[in-house]
């Protein structure tokens, strides 16, 4: 037990500080993916509810693609393919290649995956809003943007929240894949620790526990957010 504690301690001989820095990488990767994924997912959902068949088709191809590919493969494609494409591009433009680091590749790949799932969540939330809401807004003389902002979005948030909170938990877990392309997240750093200490069970178990704690904290946070989103509902009951 003492031995395990010293392995997990902070400082030059323990791996606690490396794992902590991994937690930071994991959390910041997931947190920076979220806004991109949400925005993209919302746009894709809008395209899917469009009356225009071409726009719907374009959006459907997007979700078929990124929900059908293994996340690991999407990541590799972005990491290697994106690197080659971008480097060729900037080489021509500036005479010097740019670097796609693991973080950016991870952010990009996870945003693609997150947004294609999020678009489905938004889509079913859109369907949960009765047509009367649009008609009512129209009767009040609100234009399309105002209708969206003042009438639809507040209801959409409430309807989409359970689905989105689920996706956030999936996102947190999916970040573990970036360890494979060498980004020093929780799992990568525990891997390095395992290589040095030959204690795979201890370290991988600790890694799992950290992910569990992260998802518990997220669940609590989502509880508060959904309380806030539902604030208008209580008076109605």
């Amino acid at each position: 037990m003492n031995e395990a504690l010293s392995l997990l301690s902070f400082g030059p001989t323990g791996w606690g500080d490396e794992i902590a820095s991994g937690v930071w990488v994991t959390v910041s990767l997931a947190a920076s993916t979220l806004p991109f994924g949400l925005a993209l997912g919302f746009l894709v959902a809008l395209a899917k509810t469009s009356e225009d068949a071409y726009l719907r088709a374009g959006a459907n191809i997007y979700t078929t693609l990124f929900r059908g590919l293994p996340e690991l493969l999407t990541l590799f494609l972005i990491y290697y393919g994106g690197q080659i494409a971008l480097s060729a591009f900037t080489q021509r433009l500036f005479g010097q290649p740019t670097e796609v680091n693991g973080f950016v590749a991870g952010l990009f790949a996870l945003s693609l995956v997150f947004s294609s799932y999020a678009s489905e969540v938004f889509l079913s939330a859109f369907r949960g809003i009765p047509a009367g809401q649009y008609e009512g807004a129209q009767a009040l003389g609100l234009n399309r943007i105002k209708t969206m902002r003042l009438v639809i979005l507040p209801q959409l948030v409430r309807l989409a929240l359970p689905g989105l909170s689920n996706l956030w938990l999936i996102l947190l877990k999916d970040t573990a894949l970036v360890s494979v392309i060498g980004l020093s997240d929780i799992l990568r750093n525990t891997n390095v620790a395992v290589g040095n200490t030959k204690e795979p069970f201890l370290f991988f178990f600790v890694a799992c526990m950290i992910y569990l704690v992260l998802s518990m904290v997220s669940s609590i946070a989502f509880g508060f957010i959904s309380g806030w989103a539902e604030r208008g509902q209580e008076t109605r009951a």
Binding site: P12, T13, G14, W15, D17, E18, S21, Y79, Y80, Q83, I84, S87, T90, Q91, F94, G95, Q96, P97, T98, E99, V100, N101, V180, I181, G182, S184, N189, N191, V192, A193, V194, G195, N196, K198, P200
Partner: protein, 259 residues
């Protein structure tokens, strides 16, 4: 007009970010290494890069009077990352061989040690021929000369490839593997340490020229000939001025440069 200005500004910022574009004089070299191949390159509990490769790289940079920055990259992706411009040189015990020369350029070797086979201490295996290792599970790190050797010469063994040396070590120790093939220095460093107490080296393999090549060199993009010349001159210089010997002595009690 404002739009145009914004675009121009963005382009300038981007160009600055990307680096001093046209500056041809090499002042900064980014070096890719694996960080999981002790004693040549590894990360300690502080996340710091250490090892023979790393020290040689630092000495070469000092010799070339350039600023060096290390980039850790998993082995499987290290050549693609070099080609894609993620860094400018690979100093990670990469063997100079024909297969790799198709995609990258190499400097002269900076060390050369033979491959070897390690087995558990209680193993009945006594030799290193294909016959000795027949029907056994043999591990190697993927995309290495050792994995190529195992696949071409140990055709009757069950060859398993691992992303890093750490993983095949774990599996040799727990008995999933019956033998592993890797550089003799890497294996002996491990079996002599506490972590490798499970295992022993049964013998070294005579290098095969087409596979193992002429030793470990620094891999560069083919077009970077100026950098290649600089590195070659620096290797020569640290061989002459005793720096190489000092680093060699820190790690090994024999000459790793090889004949």
């Amino acid at each position: 007009m404002r739009m145009l200005k914004t675009v121009a500004l963005a382009a300038t910022v981007l160009a600055t970010l990307v680096g001093g574009a046209v500056a041809q004089d090499i002042t900064k070299v980014r070096i890719g290494t694996e960080g999981a191949y002790p004693p040549f390159n590894f990360q300690d509990a502080n996340g710091e890069l250490k090892g023979f490769d790393v020290d040689i790289a630092k000495a070469l940079c000092a010799e070339m009077k350039v600023e060096c920055e290390f980039v850790v990259q998993d082995w499987d992706g290290i050549i693609p990352a070099l080609l894609a411009g993620k860094f400018d040189a690979i100093i990670a015990s990469m063997s100079i061989n024909e297969e790799r020369k198709k995609s990258v350029a190499f400097t002269n070797k900076y060390y050369n040690t033979p491959p070897a086979v390690a087995v558990p201490k209680d193993s009945p295996v006594t030799g290193i021929t294909a016959e000795d290792l027949k029907d056994l599970a043999v591990g190697a790190q993927s995309s290495t000369t050792h994995s190529t050797y195992a696949e071409q010469y140990l055709t009757q063994s069950d060859v398993k490839l691992y992303p890093t040396a750490d993983e095949y070590k774990l599996d040799l120790e727990n008995g999933r593997l019956d033998a592993v093939v890797d550089d003799v220095v890497v294996l002996s460093d491990w079996v002599e340490s506490e972590a490798g107490a499970c295992c022993k080296i049964v013998g070294t393999i005579t290098p095969v020229q087409e596979i193992h090549g002429e030793g470990a060199g620094i891999a560069l993009r083919k077009e970077d000939t100026a950098l290649q010349e600089k590195f070659n001159a620096a290797i020569e210089a640290i061989r002459q001025n005793g720096t190489y010997e000092t680093i060699n002595k820190q790690y090994f009690d024999f000459d790793v440069y090889g004949g």
